[in-house]
């Protein structure tokens, strides 16, 4: 097992490092220019702000979801996860329909005679990143709350804990454990921001490292510069991972008996606050989704025939990627939970900060001398999708794998419950919830991803995102919006199927 996890972790690291190395080797070195400092500064600023705001807002939302029971709660949790699954450009258009110059908000402000707000600038970048990442942060923190055994809350109730006492003794230790990882994850995602930063940042003020990499590869064909920038970006992601690692401590709540006890749900003003938090979060996350739905619906009637084979291809790639992602993430998380191989944490987190363009370019350089890249379009897509969703899957599975190890590791070992039997009887049933969620996330992310395939794509291997782009490039905006809606719908259906499957298996 340790050997297998080591090998898999090593391969994941290699998949990050080899393309970068290939680019640097081809270029004969690395280079940075003084102008990169501004890009670095802006990248760090927006990523740090986005991480802080996302995680800060996710705490009250997750708490309200954890301790309140109301009709439609499960549905709300699922639907609120949707923004994270949106292709970036679709998300941007949805946000602009609400917050843009001609959006609902500014129309209302103007009608009320108030000054309109501009979304373009740092505020817009952070707004979009929070929109995209609040769902992920909320789910990570909600899982933390759910991982506190009900017995602990029962004990708290029996000791007459006030909500403040519960916070100090139960919730704060859990948050100290969960928040650094959640913040590091959002930070690393935002490090590679390109389209969001450019479109909503309002122009060259908002130049990120990833844009500088685009410029270096596309216009200057300066691979030394691209490799240098990519190394900086990946190193920042690695530092964020290490920082999260150093900050997070195991909360050590011990095991519970799976007794279904609702969390204490304090009444009074706290109930009102929880209600307001949920209403605001739902409105913020769902209004742009509604706008996407409204703008895409007419286009659904004019979907071209080419959409269907592309949809089948995308779903197939997503399913294979999702299963691979969860398998790899589980092996790495279990090895880490067993206290072995601390470095797999890096292997599992570094892909977050990897430049998609450098990854694709490097793989192209590696593959091209041996086979025509077109032949490998789909396998490379699957592999890259797996790599890029691995960090999320790992983050989601790790805390529960650690809890599983702490609570039942010795019992399982004492009974000789190892290998496949352990997987089937202990790991899968106990981790069904995070595994289902992670698989859903990986599948949906894989549906929406375009990045790397562009260099490898052949005539006939179009996936759904590529069809959306082709329609938009041919002025067919309505059909593009309709196809994008179909893409979002399929992503969401895949996500829902895995997530619900995991929750049912866990129940």
């Amino acid at each position: 097992m340790a050997g297998g996890a080591g090998t898999i972790g090593g391969l994941a690291l290699l998949l990050v490092a080899a393309p970068l190395g290939a680019v640097a080797w081809r270029a004969g070195g690395l280079a940075l220019s003084p102008a990169d400092l501004a890009a670095l500064r802006f990248t760090l600023l927006q990523a740090a702000l986005s991480a802080l705001v996302s995680v800060g807002l996710a705490v009250p939302v997750a708490r309200a979801l954890a301790r309140r029971r109301f009709p439609g709660r499960a549905l709300l949790i699922t639907v609120m996860g949707a923004p994270f699954l949106l292709p970036v450009i679709v998300a941007i258009l949805g946000l602009l329909a609400i917050f843009g110059r001609g959006g609902v908000l500014n129309t209302a402000l103007a009608a009320a005679g108030l000054p309109v707000l501009s979304v373009y600038g740092l505020q817009g970048v952070v707004l979009a990143h929070v929109f995209l990442n609040l769902p992920l942060a909320t789910r990570m923190i909600l899982q933390g709350w759910q991982a506190i055994p009900a017995e602990r809350f029962r004990l708290a109730a029996s000791l007459g804990f006030t909500p403040a006492d519960s916070f100090r003794h139960l919730e704060r230790p859990m948050l100290i454990q969960i928040l650094p990882g959640a913040a590091a994850t959002v930070f690393a995602i935002c490090l590679t921001s390109f389209a969001v930063a450019l479109v909503l940042g309002g122009g060259p003020r908002a130049t990120t490292l990833e844009l500088a990499i685009y410029q270096a590869v596309r216009f200057e064909f300066d691979l030394r510069h691209a490799a240098g920038l990519a190394l900086v970006q990946t190193a920042l992601g690695g530092l964020a991972t290490l920082a999260a690692w150093a900050l997070a401590r195991r909360a050590g709540f011990g095991a519970g008996l799976d007794r279904a006890l609702p969390l204490a749900a304090p009444g009074g003003w706290r109930q009102g606050v929880d209600g307001a938090v949920l209403a605001l979060a739902a409105a913020f996350l769902l209004a742009p989704l509604a706008a996407i739905l409204a703008s895409g619906a007419p286009g659904l009637l004019q979907l071209p025939d080419q959409v269907w084979p592309a949809a089948v291809r995308s779903v197939a790639v997503a399913l294979v990627s999702a299963l691979m992602t969860v398998g790899v993430a589980l092996v790495l998380a279990e090895a880490r939970a067993a206290g072995r191989l601390g470095w797999v944490e890096l292997a599992a987190m570094l892909p977050l900060a990897t430049s998609g363009l450098v990854l694709g370019t490097g793989l192209f350089l590696i593959v091209q001398p041996f086979v025509p890249p077109m032949i490998l379009a789909l396998p490379v897509t699957v592999l890259v999708n797996m790599l890029l969703s691995l960090p999320f899957a790992y983050r989601l599975i790790l805390p529960e794998a650690q809890a599983l190890q702490a609570d039942y590791g010795r019992l399982a070992a004492a009974l000789g419950l190892v290998g496949l039997a352990r997987l089937r009887l202990l790991t899968l049933p106990r981790l069904a919830r995070p595994l289902g969620f992670a698989a859903g996330l990986a599948a949906a992310l894989s549906m929406g991803d375009l990045g790397v395939i562009a260099l490898f794509a052949g005539e006939r291997e179009a996936t759904l995102p590529l069809v959306v782009q082709r329609l938009a490039a041919a002025y067919r905006n309505e059909a593009a919006a309709g196809t994008a809606l179909l893409l979002v719908g399929l992503s969401f259906a895949l996500f829902w199927a895995f997530d619900a499957g995991g929750r049912r298996a866990a129940a």
């Binding site: 008996l257 010795r410 000789g416 190892v418």
Partner: protein
């Protein structure tokens, strides 16, 4: 009952963080040994080392002359009952027992019958389909003991699994342990805080204190001699 030495701790030294414990003694086959000593003295740590969760710093743990070091916990000739978490909450009681026969739970009809029989023997007949959360504390302890019965390993390690039970129930369980040990001919090592428990079912006692686990001797002799470490632990009011 008493046979040749089966369990031997050969110049054993174990350590966890700043804590160190040494032991150099052996236990005859079929013995029932109480590990007694102050809280934090290392009783559970010693059991963890024997069970294979903690590698010795030096020395060896031998079973019938064979070094246990290369064996993972599940492959060692022993069963262990922890202070808690002896049952998986997502599996039924019968499944939890079945793990004692085949960890992959692919049980034959015969093995299923043995699970049912074990349940009956510990007084849990008919409760096989329940989840642990639906059992009382005493019932959970019985279920865990039933699995020990099924595993039928020659060494049984008890890390105070009944500490949470009431006195009468605990006495019942200890009697059941004695019965199970007798039935399977197992050698028993149990951690306890309570001299009464030690006297009730054990024929040997090991004092664990001040970084050392003393060689076993009859409990009556140990309590009569009352070495200073034991006296501190038992307190002046006792005896």
């Amino acid at each position: 009952m008493r046979g040749d030495a089966v369990l031997q701790l050969d110049h054993l030294v174990i350590a966890q963080d700043a804590f160190r414990l040494s032991a150099d003694w052996q236990v005859p086959a079929g013995a029932r040994v109480a590990l007694i000593g102050p809280s934090g003295a290392g009783k559970s740590t010693l059991l963890a080392a024997i069970a294979g969760f903690l590698a010795p710093v030096s020395g060896r743990i031998l079973w019938q002359g064979r070094d246990l070091a290369p064996l993972p916990p599940g492959a060692r000739p022993l069963s262990v009952l922890f202070q808690d978490q002896n049952l998986f909450p997502h599996l039924t009681v019968a499944q939890n027992l079945g793990l004692g026969l085949r960890p992959d739970l692919r049980l034959s009809p015969d093995e299923r019958a043995r699970v049912a029989a074990a349940l009956e023997r510990v007084g849990l007949d008919g409760l096989g389909a329940r989840r642990p959360a639906e059992l009382s504390g005493g019932q959970m302890a019985r279920a865990a003991l039933a699995r020990v019965l099924l595993r039928a390993r020659p060494l049984l390690l008890l890390d105070e699994p009944f500490a949470a039970l009431g006195p009468a129930l605990k006495a019942d369980m200890l009697a059941l342990v004695a019965e199970v040990a007798a039935r399977t001919g197992a050698t028993l090592l149990m951690v306890t805080h309570d001299p009464t428990d030690a006297r009730a079912i054990c024929d040997l006692a090991v004092l664990v204190a001040e970084g050392r686990a003393e060689p076993p001797r009859p409990p009556t002799a140990l309590f009569a001699e009352r070495p200073p470490a034991l006296a501190d632990y038992l307190g002046p009011a006792m005896q």
